[in-house]
């Protein structure tokens, strides 16, 4: 098994970002990236062909992206590992294997950007829930105050990530997170238990 893994890593063509080859910097509320690529990679044409517009430095091995986008590969399981970094056309530039690989000072920028992207209110308490005609009307207390929302096809729109972690999707497509069902008070839990 271990041999297999090694051989996979050998053949695969992914650039992993670390403190040596990447510099993240916030600019105007967005994230920029300066990336130093080994010459061999850029010669294969894998990347240079796709992204040319934002290349400012003439140096072949260094590229400046005015804006990069982050996307988690495992958004629930591993929030700070396997983060895909892509350019404005949604082409993947590289992957962050683990946030610890990135320079200490820059980790915050990445976490901030991820927090903004993945932000969804966290439900602390379910104040009321009424099911009627295939829709359910919720009134909840979250970390950002009280919210009311409507869910259509409730059973299907309560997504179970694990035994205790669920999130709800309302008719607009907004998500509401319940990271730990067991942490809810009994009354709140009773209201959602039906769908578990």
């Amino acid at each position: 098994m271990a041999d297999n893994k090694k051989s996979l890593s050998d053949i695969v063509d992914i650039i992993y970002l670390n403190a040596e080859n990447a510099v993240f910097e916030p600019k105007n509320d967005f994230l920029t990236l300066k990336i130093k690529l080994p010459v061999t990679v850029s010669e294969t044409g894998q990347i240079s062909e796709e992204v040319t517009e934002e290349q400012t430095g003439e140096d072949k091995t260094e590229k400046q992206y005015d804006r990069v986008f982050l996307h988690r590969a495992f958004p629930f399981e591993e929030k700070l590992s396997y983060i895909s970094v892509s350019d404005k056309d949604a082409n993947e530039i590289a992957l962050i294997k683990n946030i610890d690989d990135i320079h200490e000072d820059q980790r915050k920028y990445i976490i901030d950007e991820l927090d903004r992207k993945y932000y969804s209110p966290e439900i602390k308490k379910i104040l009321s829930m009424k099911e009627r005609f295939g829709f359910s009307y919720w009134k909840v207390l979250t970390d950002t105050g009280e919210h009311t929302f409507t869910i259509q096809d409730t059973y299907r729109n309560i997504h179970k990530i694990s035994m205790t972690h669920v999130f709800l999707t309302d008719v607009d497509g907004n998500r509401y997170d319940i990271p730990d069902l067991e942490a809810l008070d009994h009354k709140s839990y009773k209201k959602i238990e039906l769908y578990m």
Binding site: D66, K117, L194
Partner: protein
């Protein structure tokens, strides 16, 4: 001024305090988060030169304390943040979708991204509108609502109760919907069955009348008048037995009769309802289906019909008759003895509440069991359909375990439910029985003291049971009725849904099409504001072959869907022989344009039936010829039952390539003037593809052909090619022209040639 959202006075006041005059504002909209991602009201204003983002919340505050006017309060806008952007410096406004929220961004004059505000998905639509009008302001200096867009946006909240509409376009608040109207509209269906329903009601009335009489005859009358020496009919046993027998017989006949009638009309009504629902559904445009889950739709057809039938033909008559019967019994009982009646009903309110609670709890248990059985079933079908994968990775044990876990969970839920129903309901029954005990006791004492005859008491007790029995039904009536309302509502919704694509009233009939196709500046989006096709213009001359190239998801198939009017274009027009397809009769359009799409769907039936679907009158010879042209004949003839092989669910499984060939044969048989091949040969090996193309070559002479493919070799014979990329059409021309252009097509071509070279074939 364009008001996407109406700003309250306190917001205007807050704006005024910043030195901005209301008359300068051209556009107002609202988001629900501000630039820092804080939940609040973030008002977006646009003047001719600026975009202003004023975020905060309206709060009720007491104004200055005045002696005489203590209660005066005012609403004030509490500002959280305020940002100002120069409009002329911004361009490329865009709503970027994050995971659960969105943000409005633009580019400044240096091409650097600027963040205007965050918002949740609830404000997305409004903000798209905002961008539309901002662009108008940038272009023309002012924003105006177009005439045909008078209704700026769908109202999202019910004006009556303030609850959100689950579906803004449906504008039906489940809480406030007019139930009377729904019942009235649905009951129109039953008008033609009024005769049967009338008979049913009559039979029910007879049965309840008999129900009232028979206890009197068999107990009260029997004891007091026949067995009692003081009775008028003392000793006339035969007479009374005769009466009892006749009433029982009558009620038996009545039962049989009403049973027969109700079953026969049930079948008829359910069938009719299903027909109505199904034909209403078939009439609708394709967008209706893509907006809903098709599977859900079909269960809906089946379940709703039954629910509606049950409500109108079972529940309502039963309900009405029972009410009358109970009222009658109640009066009789009061006449017999008011005090005893009071005692008889003393536990009823308690039991009523108890049963109500029991049903609610039962409903929860039931829902739990239902959820688990659904999960188990989906696992089961998952594993069975994927049995090949399960075996290939030898995961049998894990799957058994997974199944067991869910099976245990289901069994547990089932057991809980049964335990509950077996303990709680008898107990509720016992509560009712307490009234009986009281009546037996008090009534017995009355008989002993001679205030009441024994026969009266027995009759009284029988009546009491008759009042108590329907109680379980009455308690649950509300739940059942709400189910029925829901079904009726859906039925009406389906019937009232207006197809997006409708045939023109006086369409042009066109028998002899030449087959010239023109697309003029076509813009189309499935979801508002997300253009799938953006300004595409091309034309195909009669008999020409047009190739459409592009990446997966570029919008190629959408072009085909537009040409056969599965959807209507948003802007621009599509012409066939110079006639807008919106003016053409559906029959002529679809008779002359045939599509072989990448999703080949074969109906359950024989292969011949499937080929004939396009032209039911085709002869068997024609079927063979069409199959031959499509390259399907060779494999069909090898099947044991050849053309009469059953395919579809549970029968012979055809491969992807075989299915495609059958659907090509279907289109060939149609003999259309315009043939669209949408990746029609993608699942075949290159050799088969070549062979079919050779045969089609002969067929397509004199026919306009539109071929969509990402394998460029498929398009080698095309007269003209267009390249679609992200909904736009950046290139068009012949193969040579495009190669010389060294653009997108060249890149695609190079890639594919390189791929061939890599495996040793020179391109």
């Amino acid at each position: 001024m364009v008001l996407i959202n109406k700003a309250p006075p306190e917001v205007w006041r807050a704006l005024e305090n910043k030195g901005i005059v209301e008359s300068d504002i051209l556009l107002v909209s609202k988001c629900d988060m501000n630039r820092d991602g804080v939940w609040c009201d973030c008002w977006l204003f646009a003047t001719a030169g600026e975009i202003l983002c004023l975020a905060g919340s309206s709060a009720i505050v007491p104004t200055q304390y005045r002696l005489r006017d203590k209660r005066k309060i005012a609403t004030e806008f509490k500002e959280i943040s305020y940002d100002c952007f120069i409009l002329s410096e911004l361009s490329d406004f865009k709503v970027e979708e994050l995971i659960s929220t969105c943000r409005l961004v633009a580019k400044d004059k240096d091409g650097v991204f600027v963040l205007l505000t965050y918002m949740t998905n609830a404000s997305k639509e409004d903000t798209h509108l905002f961008i539309k009008y901002i662009n108008q302001i940038k272009e023309k200096g002012t924003a105006e609502v177009a005439e045909d867009e008078k209704e700026l946006k769908a109202e999202k909240y019910c004006p009556k109760c303030g609850n959100r509409y689950a579906d803004a376009e449906r504008k039906i608040c489940p809480k406030c919907m007019d139930k009377g109207k729904i019942v009235k509209r649905t009951s129109e269906f039953f008008v033609k069955y009024r005769f049967f329903i009338g008979i049913m009601v009559l039979l029910l009335v007879i049965s309840s009348a008999l129900g009232v009489i028979s206890p009197y005859v068999s107990s009260g009358f029997y004891y007091d008048q026949v067995l009692n020496t003081a009775g008028e009919f003392y000793g006339e046993l035969l007479l009374v037995l005769g009466i009892i027998l006749v009433t029982r017989l009558l009620s038996l006949l009545n039962q049989v009769f009403s049973g027969v009638i109700s079953t026969s009309i049930a079948a008829k009504v359910v069938y009719d309802l299903k027909k109505v629902i199904f034909s209403a559904i078939e009439r609708l445009s394709i967008s209706f289906f893509t907006g809903r889950q098709t599977g859900g739709l079909m269960t809906q057809v089946n379940n709703d019909a039954n629910t509606i039938y049950w409500f109108f033909c079972d529940a309502v008559p039963y309900y009405l008759v029972n009410i009358v019967q109970i009222a009658a019994l109640f009066i009789i009982m009061i006449i017999m003895d008011p005090f005893l009646t009071l005692l008889a009903l003393i536990t009823v309110p308690v039991v009523f509440l108890m049963i109500k609670w029991l049903f609610e709890y039962m409903g929860q248990l039931h829902a739990k069991r239902f959820g688990r059985s659904r999960a188990l079933n989906s696992t089961l079908s998952d594993v069975l359909t994927g049995v090949r994968v399960v075996k290939a990775f030898s995961k049998e044990k894990e799957e058994i375990k997974r199944f067991n876990t869910q099976s245990v969970a289901l069994a547990k839920a089932e057991r809980n439910m049964q335990y509950f129903s077996h303990t709680a309901f008898p107990f509720a029954g016992f509560m009712l029985y307490i009234s009986n005990i009281i009546v037996w006791g008090v009534g017995g004492w009355m008989v002993i003291t001679g205030k009441m005859t024994y026969g009266m008491l027995v009759t009284f007790i029988a009546y009491m049971a008759m009042i108590q029995n329907p109680m379980f039904f009455f308690v649950d009536m509300m739940n059942m009725a709400s189910d029925a309302f829901n079904a009726m509502q859906r039925l009406i919704e389906v019937m009232d849904a207006i197809p997006d694509v409708v045939e023109k009233e006086n369409p042009v009939y066109f028998d002899n099409l030449q087959g010239r196709v023109e697309f003029k500046h076509i813009v189309f989006s499935y979801v508002k504001n997300r253009k799938v096709i953006d300004d595409v213009t091309f034309d195909v001359q009669p008999g020409e072959k047009l190739g459409i190239v592009g990446h997966t998801g570029a919008g190629k198939s959408t072009l085909a869907n537009l040409l056969i009017r599965l959807y209507d274009v948003d802007e621009g027009e599509i012409l066939i022989d110079g006639i807008n397809i919106k003016d053409l009769a559906f029959r002529d359009l679809r008779n002359n344009v045939a599509i072989v799409s990448q999703e080949t769907y074969l109906f359950a039936g024989t292969i011949a039936e499937n080929i004939k679907y396009a032209r039911p009158d085709a002869s068997n010879l024609e079927i063979i010829e069409a199959a031959k042209i499509a390259g399907a004949h060779e494999f069909i003839i090898k099947l044991p039952d050849s053309y009469e092989t059953k395919i579809g669910f549970g029968y012979k499984d055809l491969s992807g390539g075989e299915r495609q060939r059958i659907s090509i044969a279907r289109a060939v048989l149609r003999d259309p003037k315009i043939l669209i091949m949408d990746e029609a040969t993608a699942a075949m090996d290159t050799e088969t593809e070549r062979r079919i193309q050779g045969a089609l070559e002969r067929l397509t002479v004199g026919r306009t052909t539109i071929m969509i493919a990402h394998r460029l070799s498929t398009l080698r014979d095309a007269d003209k090619l267009i390249v679609i990329e992200n909904g736009k059409m950046p290139e068009s021309g012949t193969h040579l022209e495009l190669i010389n252009k060294k653009g997108l097509y060249f890149k695609l071509y190079k890639l594919q040639v390189e791929a061939l070279r890599n495996i040793g074939i020179e391109g």
